[in-house]
């Protein structure tokens, strides 16, 4: 039955995450934005321990899903829980959330496609994900880092950039190709311990926002890892169809992670909007929904429009996660929510800077930082334009060859 309110269990997750964001992240948010480059902030270590304790293992999670299947068999499971938690934590600080040890994108990949042995061995480590290269960004099929089997070892060579947590992590899930001439189907991912000989930190980037999160460039020079460190099958599909399917499997990970990134945008934008409302309230701007839009002031109308966009983006994000929890294909909805949340996140945070005048621009408040932090969320995990491309292909029934 149609119901767009969260059940009590989710409200509890929300409340707990909010306390964490409010008590741990907010007080140190500005300071770590200034520090920018450092090791994992000490304040995050207990957070990591706490999250590890409540994070269910794969099997338990399945049971939990069943147990939560109240009503007509509809589940509100791990995906929705993740969304709710991520929004709250990012309301506190998105950079700090991304710096929590053990919650990297690589962890998601290991848990999604790893063997039981791999999950056991790497699941508890802090795993980053390295896809982007100087010559391959949105077109992740153009990866040119190579992997060659030599006896019982894979030998990796190449350069990776924009690797979130690449400095502080314990291991990196590296995308590499077994044979560039075979295109997408030959792209595989490999788990490389961070201190593995042959892998080196080239630099940590200086960024506009998201400063406390380390964004690393890594080089792989004859980097040798055990044969069993490949994620998924080592076979390269030989038919066109099988190739599509193989790469499709890789891309499916994004259907689960894009809503999570959308939730980051929601948290950051909501923080900006709340701070803006507090500041404006002191000037007597209420925007309490008591007058029609036509009879509201320009500032009130801006606030209403931002809230409408933000709430809509949130519901779209919930929907994409809800579909994933209920095993419905959600590729279109995952991209829709990422596109909507990404762009309204940018628009809202910047508009808040504008509406608060000097206070918005000043480092006295977090508004200018939130606007800087927000920008990347409309870029990573698929840019605004990539999301629109995916949505358009789905709606129009076009292939990537037809709609480039």
């Amino acid at each position: 039955m149609i119901n767009l309110e969260l059940p009590k269990k989710m409200l509890m997750v929300q409340q707990m995450s909010h306390q964490l964001a409010s008590n741990v992240f907010r007080p140190i948010s500005r300071n770590y934005d200034r520090i920018e480059h450092c090791d994992t902030p000490e304040e995050l270590r207990p957070v990591a321990q706490m999250l590890a304790a409540v994070r269910p293992s794969q099997n338990k999670d399945k049971d939990k899903d069943k147990e939560q299947g109240a009503g007509d068999g509809i589940r509100n499971g791990a995906n929705l829980t993740g969304i709710v938690g991520v929004e709250e934590m990012c309301w506190g600080d998105v950079g700090l959330m991304l710096s929590i040890p053990g919650a990297g994108l690589g962890n998601a990949a290991v848990m999604a496609v790893g063997t039981p042995e791999q999950k056991e061995k790497f699941g508890k480590l802090y795993c980053a994900m390295a896809i982007t290269e100087p010559g391959a960004g949105s077109d992740s099929a153009a990866v040119s880092t190579s992997a060659r089997l030599d006896g019982n070892e894979w030998v990796l060579n190449g350069e990776k950039i924009y690797c979130t947590a690449g400095q502080r992590c314990d291991a990196v899930v590296v995308w590499a190709t077994l044979d560039k001439s075979k295109g997408k189907a030959a792209i595989k991912s490999f788990i490389v311990p961070r201190d593995n000989p042959g892998m080196a930190l080239v630099r940590v980037e200086d960024k506009m926002g998201l400063r406390i999160s380390d964004t690393a460039a890594l080089s792989l020079n004859d980097c040798r890892i055990p044969k069993e460190n490949i994620l998924g099958s080592a076979e390269v599909a030989d038919t066109e169809e099988a190739r599509k399917k193989a790469f499709g499997g890789v891309m499916q990970t994004f259907d689960n992670t894009r809503p999570q990134v959308a939730a980051m945008a929601l948290g950051v934008a909501r923080a900006a909007l709340e701070i803006t409302r507090e500041i404006l309230l002191k000037e007597g701007v209420k925007a309490d929904f008591s007058k029609s839009l036509n009879n509201s002031t320009a500032i009130e109308a801006e606030l209403y429009r931002m809230e409408a966009d933000l709430d809509a983006a949130r519901l779209m994000t919930y929907k994409a996660a809800w579909m994933a929890d209920n095993r419905q294909p959600n590729s279109k909805e995952a991209s829709m929510c990422k596109a909507k949340a990404g762009r309204v996140g940018n628009a809202i945070t910047l508009k808040c800077v504008e509406l608060c005048g000097e206070l918005g621009y000043s480092e006295q408040f977090l508004l200018e930082k939130l606007a800087r932090d927000s920008k990347i969320i409309d870029i990573f995990e698929g840019t605004q334009q990539i999301q629109q491309l995916i949505v358009a292909r789905q709606l129009l029934g076009l292939s990537s060859r037809e709609l480039k």
């Binding site: 039955m1 149609i2 119901n3 767009l4 309110e5 969260l6 059940p7 009590k8 989710m10 939560q68 109240a70 009503g71 007509d72 509809i74 589940r75 509100n76 929705l80 929904f289 007058k291 029609s292 839009l293 036509n294 009879n295 209403y304 429009r305 809230e307 409408a308 966009d309 709430d311 809509a312 983006a313 519901l315 779209m316 919930y318 929907k319 809800w322 909805e333 829709m336 596109a339 909507k340 334009q385 629109q388 491309l389 949505v391 358009a392 292909r393 709606l395 129009l396 029934g397 076009l398 037809e402 709609l403 480039k404």
Partner: protein, 366 residues
């Protein structure tokens, strides 16, 4: 009030079946006649009677008053409105105007008043009835009305002017919202033929298939029974905004559905225009914003169904839907190029109709 239900967007089996039949009706019975009705400025004879078979008006009326006695359900209504709006906003608005009066009676009338008025709307043929709230002011605010009512002996006397009223003086019942002696808005049932009521046909940019009138009330006397005892104007306005927003969702879905085959077939520079990002992204953004509109409307409507406060949610749905209806309407025309501007195609008509989304108040209470 709120049970601990999971977040869920799936329809019940009953909703699925209802939607199927309403969608079929919209496709077969509404869409094909919409353009001619727009040009004629009136629905073809027999059209409104054919909508009665859908049961929308009869469903919520209690059995003792001649209906089916189904529970009041704004969420179910929103789905129905969306589906009919996919056919045509103007004709859907006309077909559903009586439901607005029925819902207002169910929500705001005493048992005695329901007994007096509901049976008249529970007929087998279409009974025109409408809410009359809007007035002709740029700064119109539903709670600040210039139409006045004063208590007079055993009744009330109403004076003023209401605008954009469907059916006008032909309506069997008009539910007129007027300021009661400066004490705020009150709702009065004005019956057909009441002395002092006159209606002047009024044409608009859109909604042309709907017969709309400016209705004047010159010292119109109604009995005390006709003043609804429990009017909650905010609820009326909010549920009406949701109804209109749901019409917008339906029509914007129509824009998307109609555009997709066109941009896939229309060729320029030797290939379908859909293969160009500037066209494809416009389609994608229609899809994205349509989803945003729909979910805001559904959230507010499901809260209303469950008895939760929904004023803020309805307000936000209205704000977003009014903005995006304009954006999607104009982009629909743009996708069709010159053809979008030609009256052979429905795009320009949809755009003119969508313009009403940010204007209408108290037109379609779900």
């Amino acid at each position: 009030m709120s049970q601990d239900m999971p977040f869920d967007l799936s329809l019940t089996e009953e909703q699925r079946m209802t939607r199927e039949s309403l969608q079929r009706f919209a496709e077969k019975q509404i869409r094909p006649i919409a353009r001619a009705a727009d040009e004629a400025g009136v629905a073809p004879a027999g059209f409104y009677d054919s909508t009665v078979e859908l049961g929308l008006t009869l469903l919520p009326i209690p059995e003792i008053h001649g209906g089916a006695g189904m529970p009041r359900d704004p969420m179910a209504n929103v789905l129905a409105v969306e589906d009919l709006g996919h056919g045509d906003i103007s004709l859907a608005l006309g077909a559903l105007a009586p439901l607005g009066v029925i819902n207002a009676l169910l929500d705001f009338a005493s048992a005695e008043q329901q007994e007096a008025f509901l049976p008249r709307l529970a007929a087998e043929q279409f009974v025109p009835a409408a809410l009359a709230l809007m007035e002709g002011r740029a700064t119109f605010e539903p709670s600040e009305l210039t139409t006045k009512a004063v208590a007079d002996g055993d009744g009330y006397v109403i004076s003023g002017e209401k605008r954009l009223v469907p059916f006008g003086a032909d309506a069997e019942l008009l539910l007129v919202i007027a300021d009661l002696q400066g004490s705020g808005p009150a709702a009065f049932v004005v019956e057909k033929g009441a002395a002092g009521v006159s209606a002047q046909a009024a044409d608009y940019m859109g909604l042309r298939a709907l017969e709309t009138f400016t209705v004047s009330f010159d010292q119109v006397r109604v009995p005390a029974l006709n003043r609804l005892e429990n009017l909650d104007l905010e609820r009326l306005v909010d549920l009406s905004r949701l109804g209109v927003a749901a019409l917008a969702v339906g029509c914007c879905q129509a824009v998307l559905d109609f555009s997709i085959p066109y941009v896939n077939e229309r060729k320029a520079f030797g290939e379908p225009i859909a293969w160009r990002q500037s066209v494809a992204f416009m389609v994608a953004n229609i899809g994205i914003e349509l989803e945003a509109m729909r979910l805001l409307v559904w959230r507010a409507a499901s809260r209303a169904r469950d008895g939760l406060p929904f004023h803020r949610e309805a307000y936000l749905a209205r704000v977003l839907c009014a903005d995006k209806a304009m954006e999607i309407g104009t982009n629909g025309i743009q996708l069709f190029g010159g053809a979008g501007f030609i009256r052979d195609y429905p795009l320009e008509m949809w755009y003119r109709n969508l313009r009403a989304v940010g204007v209408l108040e108290g037109s379609l209470m779900v």
